[in-house]
Amino acid sequence: MARIACFVERYNFSDLRETRALENFRRTAEEKGHAFNFMFREGISEIPKYDAIFIRATTDPLFTAYVVSKTAWELGLKVVDDPESIQICGNKIHLYDLFEKHNIPTIPTVFLNKNEMHHKRFMEIFKTLGKPVVVKAPYTSFSKYVEKVACETSFRDVSKRFFRKSDLVAVQTFMPTSFDWRVGVLNREVLYVCKYMMPKGRWKHGAKRRGKPTFVWGRTFSLRRENAPAALKELALNACKVIGNGLYGVDIKEANGKYVVVEVNDNPSIYSGYEDCRNKDLYGKIIDYLVD
């Protein structure tokens, strides 16, 4: 019997679909004879009492979840997400740099430095990538800090905002599609495959409502991993290979019959009735990986 701690924050229980998924993890672990406890920030000092840590709170190298991951890692515990994956996936510049080195097909990307905010550079980027372009902050998650710009003024405004927290931003070709593929990968095996649809009239899966602080999300269609295109699964596995062996959610776009990686996310969303819809065994596979 293994003792598994699931590191969560209060907000993880604000969405019923996520709460149900967390309960599914707990039930699956207990059915397999393991102890599964939710660990909040106040329980971090109890990490050494566990055999494995499963992080469900939002990960970022600068947030508490990273400290939890690294502490568990240093103590020799099995941890998902591992600190290296958080470090790489939490910084899109790092991710694209690795993809470039390993020839992973991605959306054409250039990096913009804080000191390059001048007319000539903006025009150069528009000439290389076309108009509009997508500006992405390195620390983006849940479709936040990803904006489309079509003129120099908005390019300058968005970049200036993103440069507050990073000296570099990624700029990509705008590639409109009706959905993004999401391939869940665990330990170099495909766990689940979904289609993240774009909400009507929007170009990304999660878009802010105009004038409101709330987000509108596109629908999610799950399909059996056996039925997903082989080339899609192969690309997802290759993209994860350059990062590590953990749990990842690979976003892929399909354009003109070709697949390109948008990004690889650590700590991918797992909502009950969505990602698990056609691949119910994902809970068991993750628990097995944690106690292996």
Partner: protein, 191 residues
């Protein structure tokens, strides 16, 4: 992240040796990880608690305590809380209204903050040893160390980056001497 982080990151991706590594840049400024890795490397540290609950801190440590921020936005090093209300104020401020956790350590002696350049500093032998060992462990060429001295013994408490306005010409002189020494020894590093 600042440009220097991306320089280290790019060097690592290309497979070039670099100091500091991106891992060290992140880990050394997260106080609980700094203390955990430091104690594993044999550097004396004090017990610590990472939480955002004042009640939990009070139940574990007696006053006074030293509170460090564990978030990417607070620069100010640490705060000393001598009583419950000071602790509430410190935690509220350093946790950014309880959004992030803080790292708390007991205060049993005196806090000392100083610059460490390639592990070298102008402090007592005991403190200088901590500075050297911290450099050996994390390979951060220039940083500010927070150390607690208790009855002549020194304990590492925290590390933070040095602000540009805190770097003086004599520090740059030391950096160039050290880099010159390293390159003479045949150590080719990006950094």
């Amino acid at each position: 992240m600042k440009t220097a982080y991306y320089v280290s990151m790019h060097a690592e991706v290309l497979g070039n040796p670099v100091i500091p590594s991106t891992e060290s840049i992140i880990d050394a400024s997260r106080t609980p990880i700094l203390l955990l890795k430091a104690s594993k490397a044999g550097i004396p540290t004090l017990p610590y608690l990472m939480t955002s609950s004042v009640k939990q801190i009070i139940s574990q440590f007696a006053f006074p305590v030293v509170v460090f921020a564990v978030n990417p936005f607070s620069y100010e090093g640490y705060r000393i809380a001598g009583n419950r209300s000071a602790l509430y104020r410190a935690v509220k401020s350093l946790s950014m209204n309880y959004k992030f956790a803080v790292c708390v350590q007991p205060l049993k002696g005196e806090m000392l903050s100083f610059k460490s350049i390639f592990g070298k500093c102008e402090q007592t032998a005991e403190v200088a040893k901590i500075s050297e060992k911290t450099y050996e462990t994390f390979k951060i060429p220039m940083c500010k160390l927070h150390v607690q001295t208790i009855e002549g013994k020194a304990y590492l408490c925290g590390l933070q980056p040095v602000r540009i306005e805190e770097i003086f010409p004599c520090d740059l002189e030391r950096v160039s001497t050290e880099v010159f020494r390293m390159s003479n020894k045949g150590e080719h590093l990006v950094g």
